[in-house]
């Protein structure tokens, strides 16, 4: 439950000097339709896993473009690949392929590489 009152937010700065675009580029090359995402959120609204747990398909794009791979791979593990998102997508993006490519790509990266952009903040 959320609690009332103010919270002290930890600083969240993305260090783009540490940004590693390899995963993003790989996905964009192998699944070009992903470029056309307009972040409408239809995928998130229909998501099956989203009814069971806090999971946001639309946010995957944001996390990937920010290079927050550690969060991305944590999020992506929740997906059940049922394919509903793909059928509601107004741009016809092959979202299941995006997710499979991200899973494969993230599994190849080391923990350090995954957390690169967030590491700088914690220093």
């Amino acid at each position: 439950m959320n609690t009332f009152g103010y919270k002290i937010m930890s600083p969240r700065t993305i260090d783009f000097d540490q940004f590693d675009g390899r995963l993003l580029n790989e996905v964009l090359v192998k699944e070009p339709s992903f470029r056309t995402c307009l972040s409408c959120g239809g995928c998130t609204a229909t998501c099956n896993a989203g009814t069971l747990i806090d999971f946001n398909v639309r946010k995957l794009n944001l996390l990937l473009r920010r290079g927050e791979i550690a969060s991305l791979s944590r999020e992506i593990d929740k997906c059940m690949l049922c394919g509903k998102c793909m059928l509601v997508c107004p741009r016809g993006i092959n979202i299941r392929n995006v997710i499979m490519l991200l899973k494969k790509g993230a599994s190849r990266l080391s923990e350090h590489q995954k957390t690169a952009v967030e590491n700088e903040v914690q220093k």
Binding site: N48, D77, G83, G92, M100
Partner: protein, 623 residues
């Protein structure tokens, strides 16, 4: 011992190469099987299964029955080469045994008998053998001639496309095509010189003898024959012709009950080596409509065999199973692909730790709509209404929130992840105390049926369940004045073998049109979740081709039994697309019981069907 003539050397080397190769790989493959599979072989060997395997080897590996059924000309071509060659070897040996009156003669003499024994045949039996081998040679040569012709015009053999070959295949194929013409040439030349031929080789030899001197070319002709045999045998391990011996091994292992596992093992290798690359799977593949030419089963199996398989080829397949039903070797093409997908995605299976289960409501029947059905709400609504109408006490398992059935994960190889979902759903289903599980989606049906262990629970697709209700008289029948086309969903039809029940149910409510491609031969709608690589535009191309055929039958309605097929087709046609359940509900609404609403069971009250209350359900109108 007599030294064989020098020209037999290539043949002997080739034979040694292929025999030792076969012995080594067979040992590797059989020892690599699991312990239970080895026990299956040991137990199966002295049983009737061995005889069945021998019989199948005869009908499939030699006579090529399945190819005959596909196209008689193609079947004859394969049979004349395989069965003809087999008979020629047998007849050659018998002839030699008869001639030498012993089994202990140098074995090369039976292969090159005409060269070894140059005296003309005397006596009836010897002449008969000579005529028999000539006849068999003619039989094979007719097949070789057809094979030459097929290169130029494969359409005459019922094949639009043929396999693109690699170097190994080309070498072996050229050698194979040379073997029998060269044998004919060599035997004719010897017959021309020594008059030991029969009805085919003797006239040919005489003709040759009348044109030029045969003495200098005799050795050369036998050398070429032996060389083509040697090259063929040596190239065999690198070519598709490995299927000749390995298919026999496959037939025996299959008869002993060995099946593909959810992981790569040596039985996978046996299957892959058994592929003859005949290319029959090419024509059945609907990926052709999307101009995808490299992901068909024959090419994927070749890449698996060479251990060079790329994800792009592996995942660019609808897993519709059309190639599998056409495969003359009977390979498990879908399972082979899923096995490879499991191996390819093993490193990143999700754990789904967040799945929790509370107590399940108690009910006799569980209704599981499936994810896709939630995107086609007409189906689940019709099903709910039908179940209420029939007075069924049911629990709608995934009405609000429920995990996926797991099949979409298995289709892309995430088997370990799917097991987590399967375990979670199994707990839920078993704790509800239900006896029947009704599923609206064939994708879910297949996984519930095959991968779940649900003792005491019957899994039914709604087409089966509704048919049962109709048979029990719990749903009224009403024949709507509509002509409909029924589209077989892949997972329900070829995948689970349910072809007749949906048709039987459908024919009670509408009149069914027969279409060219139905039942096992039905098309895939193109929406399959198994293909992760295909673009939406390519899916549309596949779908439009299918719709073209359906629309040419001018139906009033296109009926299917799968929410995903319905969703796919709806976007591409003006014809009304419905699920079976929707059509049945429409029929029920129009049936004679409907005007007299007081006859509705009490269970229909929650849905506003009670006579005292205004109906919350819009009754579909007739066109």
């Amino acid at each position: 011992m007599e030294t064989p003539p020098s020209f037999t050397l290539p043949f002997i080397i080739g034979l040694l190469v292929i025999t030792s190769f076969l012995i080594v790989v067979s040992i590797i493959w059989i020892t690599g099987l699991s312990k239970t599979d080895k026990i299956r072989i040991i137990k199966g060997f002295p049983s009737r299964k061995t005889w069945r395997a021998v019989r199948e080897t005869f009908t499939e590996a030699l006579l090529h029955r399945k190819i005959f059924l596909k196209n008689p000309r193609l079947g004859y071509m394969h049979m004349s080469l395989a069965f003809g060659w087999f008979l020629l070897i047998v007849a050659g040996h018998l002839e030699a045994i008869f001639h030498y009156r012993t089994l202990a003669f140098p074995f090369w003499k039976s292969i090159f008998f005409r060269f070894a024994e140059q005296a003309p045949a005397t006596g009836f039996t010897a002449k008969l053998f000579a005529a028999l081998t000539d006849f068999l040679l003619l039989f094979i040569l007719s097949g070789v001639a057809l094979a030459y012709y097929k290169r130029f015009n494969s359409r005459h053999f019922g094949m639009k496309k043929t396999t693109q070959m690699k170097a190994g295949d080309r070498v072996a194929l050229s050698a194979l095509w040379l073997i029998f013409p060269m044998r004919f040439a060599a035997e004719s030349i010897t017959a021309g010189l020594h008059h030991n031929g029969s009805f085919l080789t003797q006239p040919a030899g005489d003709l040759l003898a009348s044109t030029f001197s045969l003495q200098p070319v005799e050795q050369a002709a036998w050398w070429t024959y032996s060389l083509s045999l040697g090259v063929f045998f040596t190239a065999m391990p690198l070519s598709r012709y490995m299927h000749i011996p390995v298919e026999v091994l496959l037939i025996f292992l299959r008869k002993y009950g060995i099946r593909l596992k959810k992981g790569v093992n040596t039985y996978t290798r046996v299957q892959v080596f058994s592929c003859s690359r005949c290319g029959i799977c090419l024509d059945s593949c609907q990926m052709n409509q999307a101009n995808v030419r490299n992901s068909q089963s024959v090419y994927v199996l070749r890449q698996i065999r060479g251990r060079r398989l790329k994800d792009d080829q592996l995942f660019n397949c609808l897993l519709c199973g059309r190639c599998q039903k056409d495969c003359p070797v009977g390979l498990d093409l879908n399972d082979l692909r899923i096995t490879q997908r499991i191996a390819s995605t093993r490193e990143y299976n999700s754990s789904y730790d967040y799945l929790k289960n509370g107590p399940s409501p108690q009910a006799e029947v569980i209704y599981f709509a499936g994810c896709m059905t939630h995107l086609t709400p007409g189906i689940k609504k019709s099903m709910q209404q039908l179940l209420h109408f029939a007075g069924i006490n049911f629990w709608f398992m995934d009405e609000y929130k429920a995990p996926c059935c797991g099949r979409p994960l298995i289709q892309v190889g995430q088997y370990e992840a799917a097991k987590k979902l399967i375990r979670n759903n199994t707990e839920k289903i078993l704790s509800s105390g239900a006896k029947t599980l009704v599923v609206s989606c064939p994708i879910c049906y297949k996984v519930f049926h095959e991968d779940y262990s649900l003792p005491g629970i019957t899994v039914m697709h709604h087409s089966q369940y509704l048919l049962n209700l109709v048979d029990q008289g719990r749903l009224p029948v009403f024949s709507l004045p509509e002509r409909v086309v029924y589209h077989d969903p892949c997972e329900l039809g070829r995948g689970s073998g349910i072809f007749d029940q949906p048709r039987k149910l459908l024919s009670s409510y509408a009149s069914l049109i027969k279409i060219p491609h139905e039942k096992a031969d039905a098309y895939c709608c193109g929406g399959s979740l198994s293909n992760t690589r295909i673009t939406m535009q390519e899916r549309d191309q596949i779908r439009d081709k299918v719709l073209e055929e359906y629309q040419s039958c001018q139906p009033d309605r296109l009926v299917t039994a799968c929410p995903l097929c319905k969703k796919t087709f709806t976007k591409g046609t003006d014809v009304q697309v419905s699920d079976l359940a929707e059509l049945v509900w429409k029929g029920v609404c129009h049936s004679k019981t409907m005007p007299n609403r007081s006859s509705l069971p009490e269970a229909a009250i929650p849905l506003g069907l009670h006579p005292g209350k205004p109906s919350g359900i819009a009754i579909p109108s007739l066109p």
